[in-house]
């Protein structure tokens, strides 16, 4: 433990191998999708999507709504499992963790459903 930088990522106690693995998989996905997201929003046609009309026009390409929903699902999953990991580091009681889990799942589902709704609204405004 003295050479912390040599250690590698492993599931925390209470994290579960699947959550840990999916956090890594979504992490890889995010490196790609978030990079595209940042480039488009800041560099497309010089200074990115600066107006409502720019955003609607961008969403007319059918790949874009699908890509943005994938980005949203990945980033919401990654951030909420990450938050759960931080809470696990505080050594919560089991019953408290179950409440946290229920809240995080609810937040995640609401965020993704809301995102799909918003993306469909924007795409249909063309």
């Amino acid at each position: 433990m003295s050479t912390n930088i040599q250690s590698v990522s492993t599931p925390r106690s209470g994290e579960g191998t699947w959550l840990w693995l999916l956090k890594i998989v979504t992490g890889i996905l995010l490196v790609v999708l978030l990079f595209i997201h940042l480039l488009v929003n800041h560099f497309l046609s010089q200074h990115g999507l600066m107006t409502y009309a720019d955003v609607v026009a961008y969403y007319q390409n059918p790949i874009i709504p699908v890509m943005e929903v994938c980005l949203l699902a990945a980033v919401v999953f990654h951030s909420l499992t990450g938050l759960r990991g931080i809470i696990l580091d505080l050594k919560p009681a089991f019953t408290f963790l179950k409440v946290v889990d229920a809240i995080l799942v609810t937040i995640g589902l609401v965020a993704v459903v809301y995102g799909i709704w918003l993306v469909s609204v924007i795409a249909s405004r063309g």
Binding site: S2, Q6, L118
Partner: protein, 130 residues
Amino acid sequence: MDTQNNKPSAGKFWTWFNPVGRDAGGWAFILNRITALGLTFYLFLHLVILGQLAKGPQGYDSFIKLMSSPFWIAGELLVVAAAFLHGLNGIRIILTTFGVSVTRQKQLFYGLMVIALIAILIFGFHMFSA
């Protein structure tokens, strides 16, 4: 000291962010955790604010105008910086998880942070030159 600061423990939340006596691994940890919390906060703020798009051009365009002051652009650059720092540090974590470059993590970390710094500077110059 590092490993003590980073150890999971109830009620030791603030020691995670104590900058005293950290090596490269300790700084990687602190940087990843701060940017994680910042980006999570921004993500949900971002989702709520983008709801303006549903209200049509008036709501959204006036909001964007409001956000074009140097103060808010600096705030936005902070988000971009957090994304690059977290994402590139994440590449180190992914590589080492699969056994790549485990014994050269320090060099990998410094190299990735230099790339992050260059990316942040490019975005910064571009965002403030509008």
